[in-house]
Symmetry: C2
Subunit: 295 residues, 2 copies
Amino acid sequence: MAKVERLALIGLGLIGGSLSLALKKNELVGEVVGYSRQLPTRLRALELGLIDRPADSVAEAVRGADVVFIATPVQAMGSVFQAMATALEPHALVTDGGSVKGSVVAAAKAALPCAQWAQFVPGHPIAGTERSGPDAAFASLFVDHRVILTPLPENSAALVARAVALWESVGAVVEQMAVQHHDHVLAATSHLPHLAAFGMVSALSRLEERYEVFRYAAGGFRDFTRIASSDPQMWRDICVANRDELLPMLDHYLDELLRLRHLIDAGDSAGIERLFVDAKAVREALYQPAQAHPD
Amino acid sequence: MAKVERLALIGLGLIGGSLSLALKKNELVGEVVGYSRQLPTRLRALELGLIDRPADSVAEAVRGADVVFIATPVQAMGSVFQAMATALEPHALVTDGGSVKGSVVAAAKAALPCAQWAQFVPGHPIAGTERSGPDAAFASLFVDHRVILTPLPENSAALVARAVALWESVGAVVEQMAVQHHDHVLAATSHLPHLAAFGMVSALSRLEERYEVFRYAAGGFRDFTRIASSDPQMWRDICVANRDELLPMLDHYLDELLRLRHLIDAGDSAGIERLFVDAKAVREALYQPAQAHPD
């Protein structure tokens, strides 16, 4: 990849910070200028070396940058697009890390002047941990992880190629798909499981005997609920932004739980076993035994 | 603990095999005689050193044993109690590893002669992995894990003390509680999460676009569904055996998911965030940050 001369980083958390660290580690970026709404976050990002220079506004960060990466919660992206419009360089690639693509594309379309619209190549790195904020960033986050780009019809092939090269330079495996397809697939494997995990912890914490109950939570529960330690604001935004795909997927899950409820209520051992056997087989086909671990 | 002269192991999987390995490692057992319905399992357990001698029947395994440990799926325990009645030594401690206690106690009461009923101290080690079978056993499985005993009113204090000492000798932390309380607490933190995980994988595998969907399953999904790789027969039995506690707990979870559904449908960002913030706080209070890990 041609070196990024100046990267503008909007949003200085796990995703943005990790992209910066990865580019710096590979000596693929000249200067990183960063903006986050909170001053302490900007200062902390500077201190951690995620950015070389803090900016006081989106426009200031974007000015002179050849690559702009937006890694804020998705609900904030509309105002970011708005704020950058006056300052964006005509040769700049704009891309983002939002977990929902439909709402981000709509926000960009509403905010960006027509002349800049084609500069935006929407993206989503399928990587993350349950930790968030600048301190959570690390350079190897994207290595061997998928990044999905959902290019717009207006993007030039050359611009899309720059976005692909950017992600491949930090070790990611890049794929391209349509915006809505992305939002559907991610609703299933990411957004719904997060809902289910947040919902599980929330349900148990409403039990009167919750203190007693939680004392016996073991390793299985810890893993099952790990994603319920994810950033609440980020996931709030995702739920709202991807509502149209998420709600039918949630209903599909509720149907399945009701099916299981019926089998248990009827004492249908064979039916329960069939469902469990099938689920186990599907899951094991997904993950190598090497990734299984005790406790 | 006084050494176990002869341990009868009924059920030669992860739990039974691990108890045997742990006792052997600590030189706390003379001979281990094992029975499993399947001959290949008995031979494999012998080969792995989980048992010193295979028995051809429950009665043969139990004869001459001073400790009998039943580690079969819970639905099989009734016939195990029945089969041991003629051969059980009067001084033998009988205990089990079943994940449900109410149904096991009822099965024991129905099957054991009155004279032997008081010899049974029900137990449940809160330990396991998603792997099962004799090959999954390992000696340190119970170290620092909780074991819940649910003693019967008819158990002598001395007998309960033997059961406590047995588990403490392999590194477990033993607690005692009432049978129904056990089943209620475990329905919440173990049985319900397993249902939810099996149900999630099953729901997604019913999607027409399942192959495409599963391609994008990442680390969060892997951990969330790890328990859906658990033994289907064991979990089928648990669902049936603990139906009375599990169904109300499942309904409680469904209520919570419907509450979340309503918040998302209404676009109630503040309500969603409050629920996520609270869930994250509850979960993080449960687990030390040191146990969090990337990917």
